[in-house]
Structures are given as structure tokens and as C-alpha cells.
Subunit: 201 residues, 4 copies
DNA sequence: AATGAATGAGCATTCATTCAT
DNA sequence: TATGAATGAATGCTCATTCAT
């Protein structure tokens, strides 16, 4: 269908989509612009009508995907008031999305470990926003005296994200695929809530 | 023969050392062989007497550094029998080394997210060995009924390593430097042992 | 039809004018069609309604500018009958125009040294016409026995134009700006008329 | 001199020679690095062991050729003391070299009209040195009261060079080839010495 | 073993030109 | 006529790797 609504935004999102796929498959440095162009069924030069350069594409992909995650997680969390459940929802949603969309998982991997090296002045606000959902949940739990007061939300959000990301990493490598999303969610949620120690009895 | 071996090993380790520094500074893809050669005060071609190619250097660096970590952590753990303390030692040692040696932290970051993409058949046994120290500690705790039986060591080791690695990542980016090694260790150790929930009382 | 013609000619001259400016500023090879389009406040594609390609624009600019020079110089020369004065007028006019319009000076520089390389079959009749004004003056002087008979007008016109063009070149580079148009005119006119030798006495 | 030095200088001069030829044939902007490499029977990358970039090659070619001219002209002038003869020698030598080596003539054309646009901070000392030979001759003539005192050497050197260069230009375009070097030299030398005016009676 | 000059495949980016609207 | 989004060929330069010494 060659309708005229297939225009600018169409090309843009086609390129983003193609880039996500290509970056995930080859990694940022091994991906060629012509690979992306080919995947997006667009001329090489067309890409530069929508993006400044290769790095700009990576950043755009990352921000778009994280942005989508933020929207979805936020929507889910609005329906819940218990911080314990909210934490579980965050974990579950993150793992679910990463399992569903391996490309996304890999782009996050790449972006987080590469971009900051390349551009020191890139602030990565979207990602901060995402992590701050986690720290908000923790603070809420602390205010309600459900979570321990001595947990530092700023560190905890990093620790938890790290755990999530490492699980996503091994999935994207097709290692340890024996664990399901539910199992992993259960394990993480349990570990972070109750700790590893056996209850005294 | 001994002197020859020694000589060889000298150059080899000089290159490894130089590579660690250069990879950490520039990242794997932006590091040039000539940078490494210069840093190691060796001719470009000499590097190919000791390594097959650039990727081979990265793997060697990674394995050597992880190997060193294994030796050190193992030594520390031998003196301790309480799984709770052992877990804390592992966390503390990892964070200490990463804070001390930013180069190492970055090489791990890069290696873990890049190499597997490049060579599907690379098994990375050293890294598995390192992670298995973690799962051994957990299993030991479970055998002694100190750790909960429903924790799956294979997932937990990943979750914990992920947390450690994310903390190291933000340090290597010089973000959130406000947290000291001790603080971070305390937070992680606490979180993993007792969980985030406030004790009933 | 008339209005259409007028419109066309408007756009045409707008593009010529814009091109002169852009070529002078950036040089032919570094000038982009989009620069010209922007300067002329016209769409990129519109340029191709009036010109075949980029080179065609350069040639048009050159011919138009040289054509304008021919008209002006001819008008000035008509009022004068003395070949000595006519020579001085030519020199003076050329330098005045080049000083006044640096863009023109540079376009001549570029055109004369580049175009012929690109299109071997381009005859450049306008430029020949311009130079022939010089040789006509010389021939007239010879016929009137004011100029020496052994001067070959075909070579002399080149020698004189070369001198004029070199002076224009250093002005366009903003070198040696200490010399005024009048000084330069005086020096050239003097040199070409009387030569460098001191008169016997 | 070491064999490696010899080798190096060999490659360097091979590239210079090839570049002179290619620039002359295609012009600077249309010359591809691979053209030069092919002409020099060298790999593309090798060129960058000896030159920083394409522009650097052009400048090097120019400076080398002008340098050679300076040496030759200086040698010829040392044997002569009469400023009139010296002027003629300069003119004759310049035209002879340009006729003999069309590549050189064209590289000068290109360099003089392009480089200064591209790099504002390039001082072009060699060329200044060459032109200053001309002004020195004029000053010498003035000191000996052979040349008129009101000639300004700084302008005169430009005027004369311009004439020489324009003659070289038309030769390099294969226009007006009917004039021989000797004829052109005679015409220029005559014109600059005695002027165009017929002697009184 | 060691060197480092030489190689040449590889790629991001530009921009003159086209053409559907 | 006019537009400007889209095209894709073209190329300067880099750098991992080789190899003659």
C-alpha cells in the first residue's frame, strides 16, 4: 500500500528499527551504515537526512527503547500501591521485555558500555529516568516503613539494575536459557526482598 | 631455554599490561595495535609473535586479569569458613579491585559485551570459574543451612555479579563517585543477606 | 508569456548572483549546490531548471561577469582616442572592478585554472573577446606609430592580462593590500609604457 | 647514507613525481589518492606514511618544484652582474622550465589559486623567496641607476610574475603554441625594459 | 626473535542530481 | 514551474596484518 502517510516518520522509525536489529546482530562497531540502509530498504544517504552520524543512531535507538520501557513500566506501576509488588513488577517487566526482544537487550548492553566512552558530554537522561523509577519505589517503601531505612536507594537501584542486566546478557548470549522469565523474576524478587539468609526459627 | 622463556614471558606480559591500559582507555575497537606496541615499547610486528590477532589480545588480557582475581579471592576465602563472611569477602574484594584498577573494570565491561558477539565458540572458562566461586559459597551456605534452600545458585551468582559489575561500571565512568568501596560493599552485602524488607517486630 | 520570461530571467539571474558569491567564497569544488540554492532562496531542484549542471553554472557566471566587463570597458574606451590613454583605461578599469568585486576576481581565478581542465572543448569566447580589446589597443597604437612595431599584440595581451590578474589575486587573498588601485594602475601603466630602464641623459 | 634512508627518500620522491603528474593531468580536486598510488606503484596507505593528507602532497610538490627553480635560477644569476641581463635570465629560465615541464606549470597554477583558500595559515615561503629574486634584481638595478627609481619592486615583481604565469598557462592549455620560448622571452624582456612606446623619432 | 615499512581492504560520509508531487 | 526528499556513487583515510631484513 503506497499511501502518502508513509513519510518522514515512517522512514525515521524504519531506520530505528533496522538499526536496532543490525546493532544487536553485529554490535555497534561492526555494523555498517550500508547494513542498516539495506535492512531499512533505504539508500545510505537517506539515513543522514534523519541522523547526524552513526553514533547518533545508536543513541536514538537506545533512547527510544528505554522511553518505551519507561512508558510501559509506569503504566503497570500505576495500578499498584504496595512497594513490594511494585519492585516485583519492575523486575518482571524488565526481564519479560528483554527476553521478548533480544535486540533491545543487546542495544542496551552496547550503549551502556560504549557510548559514554565516546561522548563524555552525553547525559543519558532517559536511562537515568528509568533507573529512578527503581529508586522511587525503594523510597516509597521506606516512607511506608516496609523497606529498611538503611538501604541507600541510589546504590540499590544500581545493584538491582545490574542484576537484571546480567540476566538479560546471558539470555542474549543464549547461555543459561534453562531459566524462565518467571523463575528468574521469582529468584530476583525473593533475593532482593528477603535476602539469602535462611530465616531463624 | 629458561632465559629464552623468561624473555618471551617478559614481552608477553609487557604486551598484556600495555593492552589492559590501552583497551581501558580507548575501548577495544578504538584501540590501535600501534598504541599497544608503543605503550609496551615494542614493535608492532612483535605483538604478532605472541598473539594471533587483536581479539586474541583482548581475551588474553581478560583471562589473565580474571585469573589474578581468582587467585586472590581464593586465597582470601581459604581463611574463612562462614558463608556469610565469604560472600562479603567476595563482594568486598571485587569492588576493591575494580576501584583500584579502573583499567581492569573497563576491560571486563568491554570483553563481556563484545567478545561473545565476535567469536561464538569462545567458552570463557576463566570467567565461569570466577563466577563459580560465588555459587560455591552459596551452595556451602545452603549445605550448612545458613542460606535459604530455594535460592538457585546458578541464577544468584549472575544476579550478584551483575550488581557488582554495574557498581564498577559507574565508577569507571566517574559517576556516583560519592559512594566508597566500604559503603557499597556494606549495602550489597546487606541487601543480598537480609533483603530489602524491614524486619517484622 | 512575457511575465513568464521575466520570472524565468529573475530566477536565472538570482542564481547567477548567488553562485558568484558562493564560488568566490568557497571555490568551485567546495561550493555545494545547496549553498547556492540557499543563497538564491530557491530549491535545489530549481537550479536544474536553469542550468545543466554545476560546471554549467560556473561557466555562466564567468561569461556573464566577463560580458559585463566588456560592456563597461568598451563604453569607457569609446570616449578616448589615444592608445596610451586607452591602455591606461583598460588597466585602471580592470583593477578597479577586481578591487571592488572580490567575488568576480576569484571566479576568474578559479574559472581560468579549472574549467579548461574539465571541459577540453569549451572555447571561452567571451574571455577571448575581452583580451582582444587589449590587442586592439596595441594594434591601434602601432598603426599610429605610437607603439613599437616589434611588439606582438598576441603575446602582449597575455603578458598584460597576466600582470593584472596577479595583482587581483593577491588582493583577493588580502595580501599586499597596501597598494591602492591608483598606485597599482600607475605602476603597471608606467612599466608597460616606458619600461623599467632609466632614461639616458 | 643508510640503505633504508635511500629507500625512504626513493618512495617519497616517487610519490612526489607521481603526484605532480596526476595533479597536472586531473587537477587537485579530481585527482584520487589511488591514482597517485597507482602512478607511483605504491599502495594507497603508503602515501600516508610520507604525507599527512592530500593537501600536504600538493604543497610538498609545489615547494619542491619551486625550490628546484630557485636553485637553478640562483645559479644562473650568480654568473651575471648586469641587472638587465639578470632580468632576462629570470624570464628566460622561468619560461624554459614551464615549457619543458607542463606538469610543473599546472601545479603552480593550481596551488596558487587553491591552497590559500584551503589553508589560511599556510605562508608559502618558498614562493615568496622565488618572487623576491625578482625584486632583488630590480633593486640592484635601481641602486646602480640602471632601473628607474620610481618603480616599486614589490609591485613590479608581481606584475612580471603574472605575465610569466599567464604565458605558462596558455602553453599548458596548448593554446597559442605558436610562440616559442625565445620569442616570448624576447617580447617580455623587451616590454619590461623598454616599454611599449615607440622611441621619439 | 624483533623490527617497522608496506600493504590494501574496508567504511562513514558527502553531495550532485533526479523525480514524484 | 517549483519543490526538497531521496538517491547512491564516489573517495580520503585508517589500521590490522604481513614479511623482508
Amino acid at each position: 500500500m503506497k499511501s502518502s502517510d508513509k513519510h518522514t516518520s515512517d522512514k525515521h522509525s524504519k531506520i530505528i528499527k533496522a538499526s536496532t536489529k543490525v546493532f544487536a546482530k553485529k554490535g555497534f562497531f561492526n555494523a555498517r551504515i550500508s547494513d542498516i540502509a539495506k535492512e531499512a530498504k533505504v539508500a545510505d544517504g537517506t539515513i543522514y537526512l534523519y541522523f547526524n552520524n552513526k553514533l547518533d543512531i545508536l543513541i536514538s535507538v537506545f533512547e527510544q527503547e528505554i522511553g518505551r520501557l519507561i512508558v510501559q513500566v509506569t503504566a503497570l506501576l500505576e495500578k499498584e500501591d504496595d512497594p513490594r509488588k511494585m519492585l516485583e513488577i519492575f523486575i518482571s517487566k524488565h526481564l519479560t521485555e528483554m527476553k521478548k526482544n533480544r535486540n533491545l537487550a543487546e542495544v542496551i548492553q552496547i550503549e551502556l558500555r560504549q557510548t559514554n566512552k565516546l561522548i563524555r558530554d552525553y547525559r543519558n537522561d532517559k536511562f537515568s529516568e528509568y533507573l529512578n523509577i527503581l529508586s522511587s519505589i525503594i523510597r516509597k517503601g521506606q516512607q511506608e516503613n516496609i523497606f529498611r531505612q538503611d538501604i541507600m536507594p541510589g546504590i540499590a537501584k544500581r545493584i538491582i539494575f545490574g542484576g537484571l542486566d546480567e540476566i538479560a546478557r546471558i539470555w542474549s548470549l543464549k547461555l543459561d536459557t534453562k531459566y524462565t522469565v518467571n523463575e528468574a523474576t521469582k529468584q530476583m524478587s525473593d533475593l532482593y526482598q528477603f535476602g539469602i539468609l535462611a530465616p531463624d526459627d
